[in-house]
């Protein structure tokens, strides 16, 4: 296992469409004040990392809120309780980060789930799988960028919960299996680690609010 792969950008998502797999540098460049008032500047340094995590947790919480508000037809008890459990975690992550950021926290982001069919089980599970795996890769990639060890500790308490979510979602599809243990999302026993720029490009189709930071490029 070559350690050089640590930061290789593996394909962690299965979203259809070319847009999702194309790096969009513009998504993370400073906007020079030209974007709409909706743009959110994440800040710099550790604040930018925390705001970045906060944006992703907002995205996840918003997604599971929709999933649980209007469940797809013939949802099973196990599926419903898993989504509710995960929603609870994502809300707590979101609120934790908001509180930690205090006055530095970005506003609520505007999400775009037009590519998700919430009436369709496969669409919901595929999106959940993509978001959770993106979350793991995001925290793993952000960890080494964090300067304050307390923030690193906090990220550590959340990333493993995101990884547990990956297993829970995969188990809804395949049962406890090689897939739920990470087959297809891991390589040589290692999870992906993606730098913020790559993660934001992957998340861009789902986030209307332009997210900018001078720290991420």
């Amino acid at each position: 296992m070559a350690l050089g792969q640590s930061y290789s950008r593996r394909k962690v998502l299965r979203w259809g469409g070319a847009a999702a797999s194309v790096m969009v540098a513009g998504a993370v460049l400073p906007n020079f004040g030209l974007s709409s008032a909706l743009a959110a500047d994440l800040g710099e340094g550790d604040v930018a990392i925390l705001n970045y995590a906060y944006a992703l947790e907002q995205l996840e919480a918003a997604f599971y809120t929709k999933v649980t508000d209007k469940p797809f037809q013939s949802i099973t008890q196990q599926e419903a309780s898993t989504f509710a459990e995960i929603l609870g975690h994502e809300v707590l992550h979101r609120e934790f980060l908001k509180k930690a950021l205090g006055e530095h926290a970005i506003s609520d982001i505007e999400v775009d789930f037009s590519k998700v069919n919430f009436d369709n089980r496969a669409s919901v599970l595929d999106t959940a799988d993509a978001f959770e795996n993106l979350g793991v890769a995001a925290y793993n990639g952000a960890g080494p960028l964090i300067k304050n060890v307390d923030y690193l500790a906090a990220a550590g308490t959340m990333v493993s919960v995101e990884a547990r979510h990956c297993a829970m979602i995969a188990a809804l599809v395949h049962g406890p299996s090689a897939a739920s243990a990470g087959a297809g999302h891991t390589s040589g026993g290692l999870d992906a680690a993606m730098p913020p720029k790559g993660v934001l490009a992957e998340a861009k189709p789902f986030i209307k609010t332009p997210l900018t930071s001078a720290s991420f490029y």
Partner: protein, 219 residues
């Protein structure tokens, strides 16, 4: 199953977060200047094999990695034995434990290669824990319950070391192992009928807490 179930989890339950945060701060006060290095680009550029040569690693990092390697030997040997035991694992779960076993063996190989000559030798194990789990490799319920607690402990163990690895070249890899252990933990917890996660925030464990928990398995 409550007895077996709670054995390792009892070690996880206490509120250790604040204590651990304090110990991290202490470690950093002592060690921070030495290991806290520059910018993100520097860290990103360091993902080369050379950067991980054991002789280039501070002793504290070598100690953390050897501790991690011991735990990975523990896990890898546990699954190698189980996966090689005819009739233990039902067919529908062989993919799960086969995958987990492969990951743990890969972690052993990776940490061994990073440490080079500084790597600890493979410990010897007694997975019955001195007779406490006599049917660990003949009763799937015992095996899977133990697997669940071992994985939760592995997650907490890695998490407890992240602060000690902050600013070093091996933090990124430690994080990539840490979250894979959490996938395992979530999977096996679902299998044994527990929630995949015990709350929204996973707790870390200190090295001494982990060693106390796994001591009965080390000969």
């Amino acid at each position: 199953m409550s007895n077996q179930d709670s054995f390792l989890l009892d070690e996880i339950e206490p509120e250790v977060g604040e204590r651990i945060n304090a110990s991290w701060r202490a470690a950093f006060a002592k060690y921070g200047e030495l290991v806290l290095i520059g910018s993100a680009p520097t860290l990103l550029a360091m993902a080369s094999t050379e950067a991980f040569a054991a002789e280039g690693l501070p002793q504290q990092v070598v100690d953390v990695l050897n501790y991690a390697l011991s735990l990975e030997y523990f896990e890898a040997t546990f699954y190698k034995t189980a996966n090689g035991t005819e009739g233990l694992i039902p067919a529908k779960y062989q993919g799960l434990f086969g995958e987990i076993g492969q990951h743990e063996s890969a972690h052993v190989a990776l940490l061994s290669s990073v440490l080079g000559p500084a790597a600890v030798k493979a410990p010897k194990f007694d997975f019955t824990a001195g007779g406490k789990y006599p049917d660990v490799f003949s009763n799937f319920q015992t095996f899977s319950t133990l697997s669940s607690t071992i994985e939760d402990t592995g997650v907490a163990a890695f998490k407890g070391q992240l602060g000690n690895l902050a600013g070093t070249t091996v933090l990124a890899t430690a994080l990539q192992i840490h979250s894979v252990e959490a996938r395992h933990a979530g999977s096996v917890r679902v299998l044994v009928g527990k929630p995949g996660s015990d709350g929204a925030f996973d707790k870390p464990l200190t090295k001494s807490e982990v060693l106390e928990a796994v001591k009965p398995f080390f000969v």
